[in-house]
């Protein structure tokens, strides 16, 4: 019965789903419910597989107290591990042979039980085949190596024996008859001298030599020659450098000792006949055997590469299938077994919009195994904090990541990412304002966006590239906005464009111009065209002015404060959406209202005064409104806060309008009143509601009890929920609430000042950027432009342009861009989001094959 009543909550009707889907998915995280699913054991595997394909469900572990080895599907997971091991082995073999593994075009589904057995058998077979092949190859190669070494030994010893003959005959000449010149004498000599031939690794030769010298007290004669051919270790595939040696000695005793040394040094000994003819014959035999072996080796290599190529086509598919399978069993390990062992019970978080997809996946899963009893899904009420899930697309993902990097939004909290899409590139543009640099950034972003399918397909391990590519839409928008602000600042690589024609005229006569290094243009005279202003942005004449920076500083500082205050007011206003949504409407009165009043009366008033000053004073007006009389807004603001006065200049007014002083005093007074309002409002309200709540609560409990007697089924679930909710509040003592609120209030009041000042970074970075680009132009590119020589000139321009271009990219676009990006990020995280964002949620991590496969790829 209870199940049935809850079942109704799933929004199955089309209109309901449409209504929910219509809400902007970025506005706040999606509604998520806790569900219980009951699955028939035989349908479990296919159902979970279907769910993995949809990727809309986050399972909760119901067996937290059970360790990984005691779970139900351990043996299946082990099987998957074993298969993965085999796949890794085959992969390693493929890599060893340099066979490329092609990505598979279509991702296969998880294998069904029959396919699993097939797959396992195939993997087993492949592994055995490859193992056998490599074992055979190793054996063959060992043989081959030995033969090669023998060949070398035979060839090299030729020389040794020849030398030996000479030596021994010379030695014999002294004490033996001189009739037999070579042949017999040598034979006799050899009869007494024994020898051992073999090969040894080259790095061991010196030690080997010394050892032989020591054990024989210098009675062993060692000849050696380096092999010019490099050999390959059959087992590891490493290259080997070896040396052929022959040790001559006298006596059986010494022979044994030498043999021991040889085994100690891992020298391989080869039988080597002493007679020349025998050696030659042996060499011939070795050569023919080598040829045969070579052929066999080639054939095995061919066979091996054929097998590997066949495997390489199948391997990615298998790998994905096994990964999916393993993920399924891991998920099934999170499930609980019903007491009767008739069904598996799983708990999961599901976005409400995806409920129908999940139900379809479950029914598909049951249908796949022909199960007669359907699996079903129950929505259950819970007080636990739900995961945060923002459905993003490729455009919004980058912006959402910026926000998530600060902290994942609390469940259903207002999501700043939506506004960040515009405010982030805009604030960035204010700092990075240059049409040229903006265009470079835009071109880079556009290239990434237009080729995103191609670029995204080749997965790169370059972390920096991945960051850029992930933020391609941010870069694109940042480029566009920088171009816009650059156009407004009239800056293209620090040069101005005179598109609409400067509205200033020079009325000085020739002699004045010739005799004065600097001249001033007076806006009150007809130097400035009457009633005309440059239609958009900065008049290009400022580029030639020496007071350009002074003018721009004042302008950009005011601009930053204006944007900052607007941004912050917007942030504070967003908190009403949260208060409203979470049914804490009273906090709009207790928190939002004093906050916004404080901000508006003090800081928005300052912004208003900036505009008012711009409007009120103009160069052609008479004294109270002439430029000289305009008061500094900053000084005025400080005086307002401190109730001070500064004496005006002669003929000017201290205030811009009548009753300004009174108005300011009222504003400051109301602003100060807001502080105790913020400080005490919320704690006092909580104190009052608790007193009332206790009374109401008792009565309410009684009601429920009465109701329960009459209709026992329905409210049973409601009662504990209400209980725990009120308990949750009571756990926090009142003193702590007061302290929290005090901290919160102090933080807010101080932050209005510090955050407003913090927005000045917009001006500071914009100034730095403009100055740096001007310096770069004057120091580098101008060098090329100023050379007078008709031959040297173009070459200088070419070289200097390349240098200037590189510096522009490295310093102005990359470095300055990064710094402006970080400052923008800070303005959003600290100055904007602190006004309303909690960020205490945890992210919704659906069980999705796509995510699992992407993760393991990296």
């Amino acid at each position: 019965m209870a199940n049935k009543t809850q079942y109704r909550q799933i929004p199955t009707s089309e209109s309901q789903i449409k209504k929910r889907a219509k809400m902007n998915p970025l506005f706040r995280s999606e509604e998520i419910t806790l569900c219980q699913m009951f699955i028939q054991p035989e349908a479990a595997y296919t159902s979970v597989s279907e769910l993995g394909e949809t990727g809309a469900v986050q399972f909760r572990d119901l067996n937290t107290e059970v360790n990984a080895f005691q779970r139900k599907f351990v043996s299946e997971v082990r099987r998957c591990d074993e298969m993965q091991r085999k796949i890794r082995y085959v992969e390693a073999e493929l890599k060893k042979d340099g066979v490329k593994i092609r990505d598979c075009q279509e991702v296969p589904r998880a294998p069904n039980p029959r396919e699993i057995i097939d797959l396992e058998a195939k993997l087993e077979k492949t592994e055995n085949e490859i193992m056998e092949l490599s074992q055979n190859a190793i054996n063959l190669k060992t043989n081959y190596l030995e033969l090669i070494e023998l060949r070398h030994v035979l060839k090299k010893t030729q020389g040794f024996f020849y030398d030996e003959n000479v030596i021994s005959t010379e030695a014999m000449r002294n004490n033996m008859t001189q009739e037999d010149a070579t042949g017999q004498g040598a034979n006799q000599g050899r009869g007494r001298l024994g020898f051992i031939a073999g090969t040894i690794q080259r790095e061991r030769v010196p030690a080997f030599e010394r050892m032989l010298w020591r054990i024989s007290r210098g009675n062993v004669f060692l000849r050696q020659a380096e092999m010019d051919e490099t050999l390959e270790d059959p087992e590891t595939g490493n290259t080997l450098y070896k040396t052929v040696f022959v040790a001559f000695f006298q006596g059986e005793e010494l022979k044994n000792r030498i043999k021991k040394v040889c085994t100690g040094f891992h020298a391989s000994l080869y039988p080597c006949p002493s007679a020349n003819d025998e050696r030659e014959e042996m060499l011939k035999g070795v050569l023919t055997r080598l040829e045969d072996l070579n052929m066999v080796l080639n054939q095995t290599q061919d066979h091996r590469s054929r097998v590997l190529h066949n495997v390489s086509k199948e391997l990615p598919r298998w790998s994905i299938m096994v990964k999916k399978m393993k993920a399924i069993y891991h998920t099934m390990n999170l499930f609980n077994m019903d007491v009767t062992k008739k069904c598996l019970i799983g708990e999961c978080w599901v976005p409400v919009l995806d409920l129908h997809k999940v139900q379809k996946a479950l029914s598909d899963g049951s249908a796949a195994v022909g199960s007669t009893i359907p699996s079903f899904l129950n929505v259950i009420e819970t007080n636990e904090t739900k995961p945060t899930f923002n459905r993003t697309n490729k455009f919004t993902r980058g912006f959402q990541n910026l926000i998530d990097a600060y902290g994942v939004a609390s469940y259903q909290e207002v999501n700043p990412a939506l506004y960040t899409i515009i405010t982030f590139p805009f604030l960035f543009g204010i700092m990075f304002g240059d049409l040229g640099h903006g265009f470079i950034m835009f071109a880079f972003g556009f290239w990434m966006v237009s080729g995103e399918r191609k670029l995204g397909a080749k997965k790169s391990n370059n972390e920096i590239w991945n960051i850029f590519f992930g933020g391609r839409y941010i870069i694109l928008l940042m480029g566009i906005f920088s171009m816009y602000t650059g156009f407004t600042y009239n800056d293209v690589f620090s040069k101005s464009m005179n598109i609409f024609g400067s509205k200033w005229r020079i009325n000085y006569n020739e002699s004045t111009i010739m005799s004065n290094p600097l001249l001033q243009l007076d806006p009150s005279s007809n130097d400035l065209m009457e009633g005309e202003i440059y239609p958009w942005g900065l008049d290009p004449i400022w580029q030639l002015g020496t007071n350009k920076i002074i003018f721009l500083n004042s302008y950009k500082m005011k601009l930053s404060i204006i944007f900052g205050v607007v941004h912050m007011i917007f942030g504070v206003c967003m908190s009403t959406v949260n208060h409203n949504f979470f049914r804490r409407r009273v906090y709009i009165l207790l928190e939002f209202l004093p906050q916004i009043i404080f901000l508006v009366l003090l800081f928005a008033y300052m912004v208003f005064m900036m505009f008012f000053k711009w409007v009120l004073y103009n160069p052609k007006a008479i004294p109270p409104h002439s430029p000289g009389c305009a008061p500094s807004v900053l000084i005025m603001f400080i005086n307002m806060m401190l109730f001070k006065k500064s004496p005006p200049l002669h003929g000017c007014n201290e205030y811009m309008f009548t009753d300004q002083e009174l108005l300011q005093k009222i504003f400051v007074f109301i602003g100060l009143l807001c502080i105790p309002w913020m400080l005490l409002g919320k704690p006092l309200y909580i104190m009052c509601t608790r007193k009332n709540n206790n009374k109401v609560h008792n009565g309410h409990n009684g009601d429920v009890n009465q109701a329960m007697e009459m209709t026992p089924e329905t409210p049973e679930e409601l009662a504990p929920a209400a209980h725990s909710e009120s308990h949750g509040h009571e756990e926090e003592p009142l003193s702590e609430i007061f302290i929290h609120q005090a901290i919160h209030t102090i933080e807010y009041v101080l932050s209005t000042v510090s955050h407003t000042a913090s927005y000045l970074r917009l001006w500071a970075l914009s100034l730095a950027h403009a100055q740096l680009s001007e310096v770069l132009w004057n120091m580098v590119l101008a060098l090329g432009l100023k050379s007078d020589d008709p031959i040297k000139g173009p070459i200088m321009i070419t070289i200097m342009f390349a240098a200037w271009a590189c510096f522009t990219l490295a310093i102005l676009v990359m470095m300055e861009g990064l710094s402006a990006f970080l400052h923008t990020l800070r303005l959003h995280w600290v100055e904007f989001m602190s006004k309303f964002y909690e960020g205490l949620g945890y992210v919704f991590q659906p069980f999705s094959f796509k995510l699992i496969l992407d993760e393991t790829d990296e």
Partner: protein, 96 residues
């Protein structure tokens, strides 16, 4: 024949394209006596008469316009070399 790596040739390619576009435009701006570029002219700080100054400035503007266009032509050459190297590198990498 390859003498530039793939990265160097790509860098050369980009700078050449950028150089051609910007230097062509700058040449045009010098040609039409753009005031914004007056600080980058090879002229003296001081002249005795206005006519002298105008003459010098005119000459310098023309000279610089020409210089910029010649530099753009040099970049056409480097563009050709970098393109050739770039494709040579690509072919080499696709063969391997």
């Amino acid at each position: 024949m390859r003498f530039c790596g793939p990265k160097l040739s790509l860098c050369g390619l980009i700078i050449s394209v950028w150089g051609i576009i910007q230097l062509l435009l700058m040449g045009v701006f010098y040609y039409i006596h753009s005031v914004a570029l007056i600080e980058d002219l090879p002229i003296e700080e001081h002249y005795h008469t206005a006519e002298e100054f105008y003459a010098a400035a005119d000459r310098a503007y023309r000279q610089n316009a020409l210089n910029c266009w010649i530099a753009a032509l040099i970049y056409v050459v480097t563009l050709a070399i970098s393109t050739w190297q770039f494709y040579a590198n690509q072919r080499a990498s696709s063969v391997n």
